[in-house]
């Protein structure tokens, strides 16, 4: 697409590519989140596509730190759980990961 190519040169020095995450799926998840959500502007899933990328990157980096602490090279579910527990910002995920918290580590036990 000529326009996409022209614009992408402006902002990204020549790189262009599809969104990292499918917009239609993001929109479905948004609509599923609550009955209140009825109309979603076209740009909202695009913003989320980027925001989710940042979120995944941040959680992945933190989880990897846990992997390395455990002297491993393969990230496990428990590493993601540990990263959630040790990051205040990710408190909203605690219930979601609470069944994956490693028993051995001295992390606070949380009631769901």
């Amino acid at each position: 697409m000529r326009q996409a190519g022209a614009y992408s040169k402006l902002v990204s020095g020549g790189r262009s590519g599809p969104h990292a995450l499918p917009l239609a799926r993001i929109k479905k998840i948004m609509k599923n989140s609550s009955e209140e959500v009825k109309m979603i502007s076209g740009e909202a899933p695009i913003v989320f596509s980027k925001a989710c990328e940042l979120f995944i990157e941040e959680l992945t980096k933190r989880a990897w730190a846990m992997t390395l602490q455990g002297k491993r090279r393969t990230m496990q579910r428990e590493d993601v759980a540990s990263a959630v527990i040790t990051t205040d910002l990710f408190d909203f995920l605690i219930t979601l990961v609470s069944d994956s918290v490693p028993a051995q580590e001295s992390l606070p036990v949380l009631e769901p």
Partner: protein
């Protein structure tokens, strides 16, 4: 439960984003990717809920990009919010230019029925390096 996959982002995309940020020798278990899928969906729901509340309070029907940015900031994701606002600004600028160039009617990012993701689906595939610290965000497929 209805189709679970509808509520999750594709594991391949998630895995790709995760791999990009890790050293080349790093491995990621399938369970870790699945957990990340669930966390990403929860993140979307969490932020959307906050954005939707705001719309409701302001008697607006459509959740837009600004609402998402506001919700990110409100929930403590200030660092995402700032980057998103810049991204959104450029996106809107681009859409305006495109609308002017091709006399494109209707599908803009103002209040519309939710069928209007056609505008999002055909949104330009550009990559905003404002978010990068020198790396790439979208890998080549």
């Amino acid at each position: 439960m209805t189709d679970e996959h509808d509520k999750l982002l594709p594991i391949a995309n998630i895995g790709r984003i995760m791999k990009q940020i890790l050293p080349p020798s790093a491995k990621i278990s399938k369970e870790a990717k699945e957990t990340m899928q669930e966390c990403a969906s929860e993140f979307i729901c969490f932020v959307t809920g906050e954005a939707s509340d705001r719309c409701h309070k302001e008697n607006r029907k459509t959740v837009n990009g600004d609402d998402i940015c506001w919700a990110l900031s409100s929930l403590g994701f200030d660092h995402y919010s700032e980057a998103m606002l810049r991204y959104l600004h450029k996106l809107r600028e681009f859409e305006r230019q495109r609308a002017n160039q091709s006399n494109y009617k209707a599908s803009s990012s103002t209040e519309e029925k939710d069928e209007a993701t056609s505008s999002a689906a055909s949104a330009p595939s550009f990559d905003f390096e404002i978010l990068e610290k020198g790396g790439r965000s979208s890998p080549k497929p």
